[in-house]
């Protein structure tokens, strides 16, 4: 499988705190790659670096043969990032928010229309898209943001805790949407501390703790290696 993202020896310092201690991973074309680990493990920092929000202290990040440090604009043109606690502009209507975001990626009105139609289908909010975002529930905002992240069919979608704060029904819907887009060939880099979610969604995953990747592989490979019936047991075994 052709790799579209290659992360080598990635380190990140916040003052004296070393948040990432030289991690390596790759994401293949059309692959769902997940980072799993407890709070504070460094998942969000890694995702934020790939999303061009933070600059790496050391190491190399290459995406579609572009170096992150030299050409972050190329990253931004081809990625889409959904932060864990993201919001949308409360004074804008749902459709206006989607239009606003679509215009950064669409070169023509036809393309913009295509993005909007896709976003409306993903969000599934129907007529509520005509209401202001400030009137939406948390679940509705999350679906709107997921629609925003996927409507452009980015080469790489970076999803940080995509079902964070959602109820069971909404979580299931969001997972189905992610799975569908992955099947259509979009690469996805996601993070979660929900092991069941990762097992359902990911093709490959990395176990991360205290800024280090403990191990990585497919869910089946890791379960076999650590003799665990599920990823929670695998993670605990890897920590030892």
């Amino acid at each position: 499988m052709e790799n579209i993202l290659d992360v080598q020896g990635l380190r990140k310092f916040f003052g004296n705190l070393e948040a990432l201690k030289g991690i390596n991973f790759q994401v293949g074309k059309g692959e769902v790659f997940a980072l799993i680990g407890p709070n504070g493990a460094g998942k969000t920092t890694a995702l934020r670096i790939v999303a061009t929000l933070l600059s790496p202290s050391d190491g190399k990040v290459t995406f579609l043969n572009h170096d992150l440090k030299k050409n972050p604009d190329k990253f931004r043109e081809n990625i889409s990032y959904l932060p864990e606690e993201a919001g949308a502009y409360r004074n804008l209507r749902g459709t206006d928010y989607l239009k606003f975001m679509a215009r950064f990626y669409s070169g023509s009105e036809d393309k913009e229309k295509e993005f909007l139609e896709r976003a409306q289908a993903i969000a599934g909010l129907g007529e509520r898209l005509k209401d202001k975002v400030g009137t939406y529930s948390k679940g509705m905002v999350r679906k709107l943001l997921l629609a925003r992240a996927l409507m452009t069919r980015p080469a790489l979608a970076i999803l940080d805790e995509p079902t964070s704060g959602l109820d069971v029904i909404n979580s299931l819907e969001v997972r189905e949407i992610i799975k569908r887009f992955a099947r259509e060939g979009i690469s996805i880099l996601l993070s979660s501390h929900n092991m069941l979610e990762i097992e359902f969604l990911s093709d490959r995953l990395a176990l991360i703790d205290k800024g280090r990747i403990l191990d990585q592989g497919t869910s089946r490979e890791l379960k076999d290696k650590y003799q665990g019936p599920n990823l929670e047991i695998v993670f605990r075994s890897a920590l030892r």
Partner: protein, 426 residues
């Protein structure tokens, strides 16, 4: 450009909220209403006052005295026969003033020992308009004294105009501004210039503070609503994000300040407008070159424009430090102080007489320059105004570079004013 316009429109839409529109409309309506009320009161006060006169003397002298007041006031002769009766009769009327000339007044005048007249003012309210009542009898007594002293002098020294005896030395006053000279009183000119330009520092202060507050709040709201991270990952240059925020805040700040100032203008003109009307001081002002012509207004506008740019750039940097809308409000305070210093100096002090360290401190504040520019432009000292503009331009470039650097690095997400506590999201 299309992406930038998209961002700019969004920023403006975010800033123009229902709450902002409502507060601006309410402010304008309220101040317009107060101004109209003040105007009505001022007109009433400026009109010839009604004065009731009870002449208990009915001598030739007292009648002439009453006649001398007729050109200045609406004089009504009281028909009562005693002071008590006259006061009681006026209690229910709209006449606020009663002048009582005592019996024997004419005879006492003949002995140069005039009996005191009695004045009664009916206080029917304690409003600003009613406060002017106190001045009415002072003016009446001055008019009466003038008349009486003229009469005395005519009796004692016939053939000489009393005015020449009372004020033998006359003066012609001239005011010089640079190479121009005009006949007029320095106090009148100072008063006129102040009344005409009193709005300019207020406009400056409001525009600067408003724009700064807008941009700090805009960045803080992006953080509070968790939209900044998404915005920073879209394919648009970080400098465009900074510029769009500054431009939108500048435009909305300018619009808000204009509405506020229009409201203020109605408010103040209610109290001062009619008093200025009809004076010929404005002709002297033009003769002295103190009126702000098109060139002067353009230079002042350029100075103000660069002050706003500096304010926006400073506010952008401060906005990054804010965590939410509430903390953004406290971050506006340093900007307010920086604007208040030159604002008060322009009102209460003469910049030229300040000590050197204070002068340097004032000049280092970019917002001082448009305040100082007003007087310099009036006096045609354009050199310090140009230096001020160049200083603000240089400072703006430095501040924008700093702001762009902050937005291009991790600092836009990690810089926080947390008073000693550190927070890092892993």
């Amino acid at each position: 450009m299309k992406k930038f316009t998209n961002l700019l429109v969004k920023e403006i839409r975010e800033l123009i909220t229902k709450q902002l529109v409502f507060s601006l409309v309410m402010f304008f309506v309220l101040f317009y209403f107060i101004g109209q009320l003040g105007k009505t009161e001022a007109r009433r006060a400026a009109a010839a006052q009604k004065i009731a006169v009870l002449d208990l003397d009915e001598s030739d002298v007292s009648q002439k005295l009453v006649q001398s007041l007729r050109p200045l006031y609406q004089v009504e002769a009281a028909k009562e026969t005693s002071q008590e009766a006259a006061v009681n009769a006026l209690r229910g009327s709209t006449t606020n003033f009663l002048l009582v000339i005592p019996a024997g007044f004419g005879e006492s005048v003949a002995r140069f020992e005039a009996k005191p007249v009695e004045t009664f003012t009916f206080m029917r309210s304690f409003s600003l308009g009613a406060g002017r009542n106190s001045a009415v009898f002072r003016a009446v007594l001055t008019a009466l004294n003038n008349y009486m002293s003229d009469e005395y002098l005519k009796q004692k020294i016939a053939g000489v105009a009393p005015e020449n005896l009372k004020n033998p030395i006359k003066s012609k006053d001239f005011v010089i501004v640079k190479d121009r000279m005009a006949e007029g009183s320095a106090a009148d000119i100072t008063g006129f210039v102040f009344s005409q330009s009193v709005f300019i520092p207020v406009i400056l202060m409001m525009i600067i503070i408003y724009s700064a507050q807008m941009v700090i709040s805009a960045i803080a709201m992006e953080k509070q609503n968790k939209t900044l991270e998404t915005l920073l990952t879209v394919p648009i240059r970080r400098t465009s994000i900074v510029t769009a925020k500054m431009l939108a805040a500048g435009l909305v700040g300018l619009l808000s300040a204009a509405i506020y100032m229009l409201g203020f203008r109605f408010y103040f003109s209610g109290f001062t407008g009619d008093m200025r009307a009809g004076t010929d001081v404005s002709q002297i002002i033009h003769k002295l070159g103190l009126a702000l012509d098109a060139k002067a207004l353009i230079v002042l506008g350029v100075s103000l424009f660069f002050a706003i740019l500096c304010a926006l750039a400073m506010a952008t940097i401060l906005g990054v430090l804010a965590e939410d809308f509430r903390s953004a409000q406290s971050l506006v305070m340093p900007m307010v102080f920086l604007v208040m210093i030159p604002y008060f100096i322009s009102f209460f002090a003469d910049f030229r007489t300040l000590s050197l360290p204070v002068k340097l401190f004032v000049l280092a504040i970019p917002f001082s320059h448009p305040f100082l520019a007003i007087q310099n432009i009036m006096l045609e000292n354009y050199q310090p105004v140009i230096f001020g503009i160049l200083y603000m331009l240089a400072l703006f470039v430095v501040l924008v570079v700093i702001a762009a650097r902050i937005f291009s690095t991790d600092k836009v997400l990690t810089m926080k004013l947390r008073w000693g506590r550190k927070k890092v999201v892993l």
